[in-house]
C-alpha cells in the first residue's frame, strides 16, 4: 500500500478497504525497518500518530471525513509541533519541546492528517545536501552514497522511499525543489505569503515559504488546499481567499506558452541533466505547448544577492538562540558574555555560524549600503526580469538543479560549489514566485527534476501543467529498488 499516491490512499480509506490505523501502522513499521538506511527522520511520533489515526477512523465512521482524513504524513522538523521535540536539525534545539503548533501543522491536523514524525534537515535549513544536520546526513534512497539534497532532505528522502505518502517542507532558496529533484518526487514552493510562516522556525523571513512534497502534482494540490490560506498571526500572509488548487488539474495544455531561459542551459549544467530536461520539454510540447527561448539576464546575480539577504536576515533571526530561555546552554558559564559565546559557539554548527557571520558583516555600519542595500536593488531587478518574461510566456521551465545528486562529502568543504547547486532555484525566492520540481527522468541512475516557474498566484496552472505531464509520463511512479517492497 505504500506505493500508492495520497489520492489513491484517500480513495481506499473512503471505500473502507483500509483503516487509518492500519495505514499508519504500516508506515510506522516501514520507518522503523528502513529508515536506519536513510536517516530521514529525527523523531517519530508513534503514539501520537496512532491516537490521531484512531480519531480519524472514528470521524470517517461518523461520516465527517475529508480527503486528507486519516492520511499519514511527515513534517519537516522546522515546524513547531506541540508537545513534540522540534529541533530545526540543530544541537541548539535538541532539548526543545515546542509549546505550540505551527499554523501548517494546525491546519493539516484539522484536515485530519496523521503525524508520523519529524524529518531530518540541514541545520536551520542552511544547506543543499542535508549534511549540516546535527543528527547526521540523510542518504539518497536511489543511492545511499549520495546526498538527497537539502535543506528538506529528510522530507524528500522519506517520500521517495515511500516511508510517508507526503511530507511538508520549506523553501528559502530551493530547499523544497532541489531535494525533490534529487530524490525524484514532486515539490511545490508556493507564492510567498500563501502559507503562514507562524510556527515555522525562521531562516530568512522574506524568502521562507512552506510547501508540500509528494509523489504527484495531484497530491500536492490536495495538500495545498489544507496548508494554504490567510493567517492573522503572520503579517506577510496574503489576505485573500485561497483558490481550490485542484480546480485546473485536468485543463488542456493546448496553447501553453513555455519560456526556456538561455541562462539556465549554459556551462555549469550537467549534460545528463540537460538531456533529461530537453526530452521532458519535448513531451510538454506534445501536449500542445509552444516553446521559445527567453532571457533572464539577472540569473548570475541571484546567488550573490541571496547570500547577502538570506544570511543578513538569518543573523538576526537566530539571535534568539542565546542559551537564556530555552535550547542549548553551555556548562558553567563564567558570566553573561561567556554564556552567549559558548552557548552559541557550541550549539550552532559550522555552516550556521558561517552564515551568521556573513549576515552580521553585511549589516554592519559602513558595509550596509554596499551589501544589503545593493542586494535589495538586485532583488528588484530580478523581480522585474521575471515580470518582463511573464508578459510573454505562461511558464518558465528548465532544470531544478545543475546536477543530479552528488556524493556525500563531495561538496561539504566547498561552500561556493554547494551554494551553486541552488543557482536555478534561488531567483524564484527573491521574486516571491511559485515554482515546482517534477520528476522528469534519470541520469546515471539518479533522478532529475524539471523546474516550472509561474507568475504570482499561478499555482493552480503550475499544478495543471505538472499533472498533465505526469499523465503522459511515469517518472513520478519510479521507486528506488531497495524501497519498493
Amino acid at each position: 500500500m505504500h506505493n500508492k499516491t495520497l489520492v489513491e490512499l484517500s480513495q481506499q480509506l473512503a471505500s473502507g478497504a483500509l483503516s487509518s490505523v492500519e495505514l499508519t501502522q504500516h508506515f510506522l513499521d516501514r520507518i522503523k525497518l528502513l529508515d536506519p538506511q536513510l536517516n530521514s527522520f529525527i523523531s517519530t511520533t508513534d503514539e501520537l500518530a496512532l491516537a490521531q489515526a484512531k480519531i480519524a477512523d472514528e470521524l470517517r465512521a461518523a461520516g465527517s471525513a475529508g480527503p486528507l482524513t486519516g492520511i499519514p504524513i511527515a513534517h519537516k522538523d522546522i515546524f513547531c509541533t506541540k508537545g513534540v521535540k522540534t529541533t530545526a536539525g540543530s544541537k541548539m534545539l535538541d532539548n526543545f519541546i515546542s509549546p505550540y503548533d505551527a499554523t501548517v501543522v494546525e491546519k493539516l491536523n484539522a484536515a485530519g492528517t496523521i503525524t508520523l514524525g519529524k524529518t531530518n534537515m540541514d541545520e536551520f535549513a542552511m544547506g543543499s545536501s542535508n549534511e549540516t544536520s546535527f543528527y547526521g546526513a540523510v542518504k539518497n534512497p536511489w543511492n545511499t552514497d549520495y546526498v538527497p539534497g537539502g535543506s528538506s532532505g529528510g522530507s524528500a528522502a522519506c517520500v521517495a522511499a515511500r516511508l510517508a505518502p507526503a511530507a511538508t517542507g520549506t523553501d528559502t532558496g530551493g530547499s523544497i525543489r532541489q531535494p525533490a529533484s534529487l530524490c525524484g518526487i514532486t515539490g511545490l514552493k508556493p507564492t510567498y505569503g500563501s502559507i503562514s510562516r507562524w510556527g515555522m522556525i525562521a531562516f530568512a523571513s522574506s524568502l521562507d515559504q512552506a510547501g508540500p512534497m509528494t509523489q504527484t502534482a495531484e497530491d500536492a494540490a490536495l495538500m495545498m488546499n489544507a496548508m494554504s490560506g490567510f493567517d492573522s498571526k503572520d503579517s506577510t500572509s496574503i489576505n485573500k481567499e485561497a483558490p481550490d488548487y485542484t480546480s485546473e488539474l485536468n485543463n488542456s495544455l493546448e496553447g501553453l506558452k513555455v519560456g526556456l531561459p538561455k541562462e539556465f542551459f549554459k556551462e555549469g549544467l550537467d549534460s545528463g541533466v540537460q538531456q533529461v530536461i530537453e526530452t521532458a520539454i519535448k513531451d510538454i510540447e506534445k501536449l500542445g505547448a509552444t516553446v521559445k527561448e527567453i532571457s533572464l539576464s539577472t540569473t548570475d546575480l541571484a546567488v550573490p544577492a541571496y547570500y547577502v539577504i538570506a544570511p543578513a536576515e538569518a543573523s538576526s533571526n537566530l539571535s534568539r538562540f542565546d542559551g537564556v530561555r530555552y535550547g542549548y546552554r553551555c556548562d558553567n558559564p563564567a558570566n553573561l558574555e561567556d554564556l552567549y559565546k559558548r552557548s552559541r559557539g557550541e550549539g550552532f554548527g559550522e555552516e550556521v555560524q558561517r552564515r551568521i557571520l556573513i549576515g552580521a558583516y553585511a549589516l554592519s555600519a559602513g558595509f550596509y549600503d554596499a551589501y544589503y542595500i545593493k542586494a535589495q536593488k538586485i532583488r528588484r531587478l530580478i523581480k522585474n526580469d521575471f515580470d518582463k518574461a511573464f508578459a510573454d510566456v505562461d511558464v518558465i521551465m528548465g532544470p531544478t538543479a545543475p546536477s543530479a545528486g552528488f556524493a556525500l562529502g563531495e561538496k561539504a568543504d566547498d561552500p561556493i560549489s554547494m551554494y551553486l547547486s541552488d543557482i536555478y532555484t534561488i531567483a524564484v525566492n527573491l521574486a516571491g514566485l511559485p515554482a515546482m520540481s517534477v520528476p522528469a527522468g534519470f541520469t546515471a541512475g539518479l533522478p532529475v527534476g524539471l523546474q516550472m516557474i509561474g507568475s504570482h498566484f499561478s499555482e493552480p496552472r503550475l499544478l495543471n501543467i505538472a499533472h498533465q505531464f505526469q499523465q503522459a509520463t511515469d517518472w513520478h511512479k519510479k521507486t528506488p529498488d531497495a524501497f519498493t517492497k
Binding site: 515546524f79 513547531c80 522540534t86 530545526a88 534545539l93 526543545f96 515546542s98 509549546p99 505550540y100 505551527a102 510562516r197 507562524w198 510556527g199 515555522m200 522556525i201 525562521a202 530568512a204 523571513s205 522574506s206 492573522s232 498571526k233 503572520d234 503579517s235 506577510t236 543578513a312 536576515e313 543573523s315 538576526s316 537566530l318 539571535s319 534568539r320 538562540f321 542565546d322 537564556v324 530561555r325 530555552y326 553573561l336 552567549y340 552580521a360 549589516l363 554592519s364 555600519a365 550596509y368 544589503y372
Partner: protein
C-alpha cells in the same frame, strides 16, 4: 568664558494600549513576573509579530497634536543587540521613515515668554523586559511582562538652553500625552523616561560642542539634577582645557552624579535593517484627518478657554491647565460648588496644591476629591460659612473627617448672620474698649481703616469666627462715628 548649554531630549513614552505592540498580551503594570508574556514576548522559535493598530493610532494622534508631518509610509526595523531581557536578540523599532516626522511644541517659560521647541521625529518601538538582580542568590531573574509594551520615542531638536527649558519641555510633553489620553504618564512606573543630550559651546559660537547622552532618567527632579550636574562637569572639563568625550552616561540618583557608561568607540553597532516580518505601515489621508478632527482640547486651547469662560488670569489658567487631571479637577469643583470660578481657582491653586505639595502628592492622589472641595465652596458661596471657617473645614476634609456639611455641623461653624446677635457683640466690644474707641475717633480718616481691624478681630473672636465679617464691618461703621 561664558558658556551656552545646548540640550536635546529623547523621551520614551509608554502608550496606554490594552495589549502589547506586537502581541496580544496585556500591558497592565505590576503583575506577577512573566504572567503577561506570550509566546511572542518570550521570543519562541517560529513566532511572528503582528502590529497593534492602536499603537499607530496613538502615535499619529501625538503627531497631529504637535503639528508634525506624518509619514504615510512608515517602516519597522530591527535593532540588533544581545541582552537577557531582550528575548529576540533584537528590538523592533523604527529608523528610516518613523511614523511621526518633524513637528514642534511650544513651551511657556517662567518669565511669561513662549519658546518653540522642534521635534525631530517620534517613532514606535517595543519596550524590553526587566532584569531583576536581587533575591536570586547572585543570579539574575528576568521578567518579560514589560517586553513588547509600546513606546513612542519623541526626539527633540537641540533647542533647549537651560535645565529650566528642558523641564518645561518635558512637562509640556507630559501634559500633552495625558491630554491626548495616549499614555498614563506615570513616571514612577516608568511610563515616561528620558535620555538627555547635553553639550556646551562658548556663547556666540554657532557650532555645537561634543555631546554626552545621559540615559534613562525618570523624574522631573532627576532630569533637572542630572542636567545641572552634567553642565557643571562639562564646564569644569572644558575650562581645565580638556575635551568632552562623546559617550553615554548614567545618572546615579543616590549620589546625584552622572558617570560614564560607554564611549563612542564601545558603542554597539545595532545593524539596523527593515524587519522582514512586518510590512510597511501605510496610512491614508482620511485616517490621519479623522484623528486630527477628533483631537481633544489641547493645553493651549484650554488655557485660552479658562481665561474667557472663567475670567481667570493667564497665570492661574496656566497653572490649572498644566495637567489634564488638575484642569478636570478644577472644572468639577466649579460645577459642584456653583461658586465663582475665581474662588474655586484660588482654593485649588493655593490651598489644595499647597497641601498636596507639602505632602509630596500629585493631584491624582489628592485626599480631597473635587466633589468634596466643591461641596465646601458651595457653603462659602451661599454664606453658610465664612472663608476663614472654610480653612477649618478644609483641614477636616484633608483629614478625612467627612463631607463639608458634616464637618461644619460637627465643628459648629455655621456663620452668624442674625443682625441682632451680631449687634449685641459689637456693642459689647465697643463698651469694653473705650480707650481704643477714643483713639479710633481721634484718628485721621485714612488711618481708621487700619484701626478698625482691632474691633473686627475682637468681635470675630467673641463669635468664635462665626460672625459674618461683612455685617460686622457694616455695623462697626454705623456705630463708630
Amino acid at each position: 568664558m561664558a558658556w551656552e548649554t545646548v540640550i536635546g531630549l529623547e523621551i520614551h513614552v509608554q502608550l496606554s494600549t490594552q495589549s502589547k505592540i506586537f502581541s496580544g498580551s496585556a500591558t497592565t503594570f505590576g503583575a506577577e513576573p512573566n504572567t503577561q508574556a506570550s509566546l511572542v514576548d518570550l521570543g519562541m522559535p517560529g513566532v511572528l509579530p503582528v502590529l497593534n493598530e492602536d499603537a499607530i493610532k496613538k502615535a499619529i494622534t501625538f503627531g497631529v497634536a504637535i503639528d508634525a508631518k506624518i509619514n504615510q509610509k512608515s517602516v519597522f526595523a530591527r535593532k540588533n543587540y544581545f541582552y537577557p531581557d531582550l528575548p529576540k536578540g533584537y528590538q523592533i523599532s523604527q529608523l528610516d521613515l518613523p511614523i511621526v516626522d518633524i513637528g514642534h511644541l511650544d513651551i511657556a517659560l517662567e518669565d511669561g515668554t513662549v519658546k518653540r521647541i522642534g521635534v525631530t521625529r517620534a517613532h514606535l518601538e517595543e519596550d524590553a523586559g526587566k532584569s531583576l538582580h536581587e533575591d536570586y542568590h547572585g543570579m539574575t531573574g528576568i521578567d518579560l511582562n514589560r517586553a513588547g509594551t509600546p513606546l513612542l520615542e519623541i526626539v527633540s531638536e537641540p533647542d533647549m538652553r537651560s535645565a529650566e527649558e528642558a523641564i518645561a519641555y518635558v512637562k509640556s510633553v507630559h501634559a500633552l500625552i495625558q491630554y491626548l489620553d495616549i499614555s498614563d504618564g506615570n513616571m514612577a512606573e516608568g511610563s515616561m523616561r528620558c535620555d538627555i543630550n547635553i553639550s556646551m559651546r562658548p556663547k556666540g559660537q554657532e557650532e555645537y560642542g561634543t555631546r554626552t547622552e545621559t540615559k534613562n532618567v525618570n523624574s522631573f527632579r532627576f532630569i533637572e539634577k542630572a542636567i545641572r550636574g552634567e553642565v557643571i562637569r562639562q564646564i569644569d572639563e572644558l575650562e581645565a582645557g580638556n575635551k568632552i568625550n562623546q559617550e553615554t552616561r548614567l545618572y546615579d540618583s543616590a549620589k546625584d552624579e552622572t558617570r560614564s557608561m560607554r564611549s563612542k568607540e564601545e558603542a554597539n553597532d545595532y545593524r539596523y535593517f527593515p524587519d522582514p516580518d512586518l510590512l510597511p505601515v501605510i496610512t491614508t489621508d482620511e485616517y490621519i484627518q479623522n484623528l486630527r478632527d477628533n483631537l481633544p482640547e489641547l493645553p493651549d486651547q484650554k488655557i485660552e478657554r479658562f481665561q474667557k469662560e472663567y475670567e481667570l488670569k493667564e497665570y492661574d489658567a496656566r497653572v490649572l491647565a498644566a495637567s489634564k487631571q488638575l484642569a478636570d479637577y478644577f472644572e468639577t469643583v466649579v460645577a459642584t460648588s456653583g461658586a465663582k470660578a475665581k474662588l474655586a481657582a484660588n482654593w485649588v491653586t493655593s490651598e489644595l496644591l499647597g497641601a498636596l505639595n507639602k505632602a509630596g502628592k500629585g493631584i491624582q492622589d489628592s485626599p480631597v476629591s473635587a466633589e468634596l472641595l466643591g461641596g465646601m465652596l458651595k457653603r462659602i458661596a451661599d454664606n453658610t460659612i465664612s472663608g476663614k471657617a472654610g480653612k477649618i473645614v478644609f483641614e477636616g476634609l484633608l483629614n478625612g473627617e467627612g463631607s463639608a456639611d458634616e464637618i461644619i455641623k460637627a465643628k459648629d461653624l455655621i456663620q452668624e448672620t442674625d443682625t441682632g446677635a451680631i449687634e449685641a457683640l459689637v456693642d459689647e466690644v465697643i463698651a469694653n474698649n473705650p480707650a481704643q474707641v477714643e483713639q479710633f475717633l481721634a484718628a485721621e480718616k485714612d488711618k481708621r481703616k487700619k484701626l478698625i481691624g482691632f474691633f473686627v478681630g475682637q468681635i470675630m473672636k467673641a463669635s468664635k469666627g462665626k460672625a459674618n465679617p461683612q455685617q460686622v464691618n457694616q455695623l462697626l461703621g454705623q456705630k463708630l462715628k
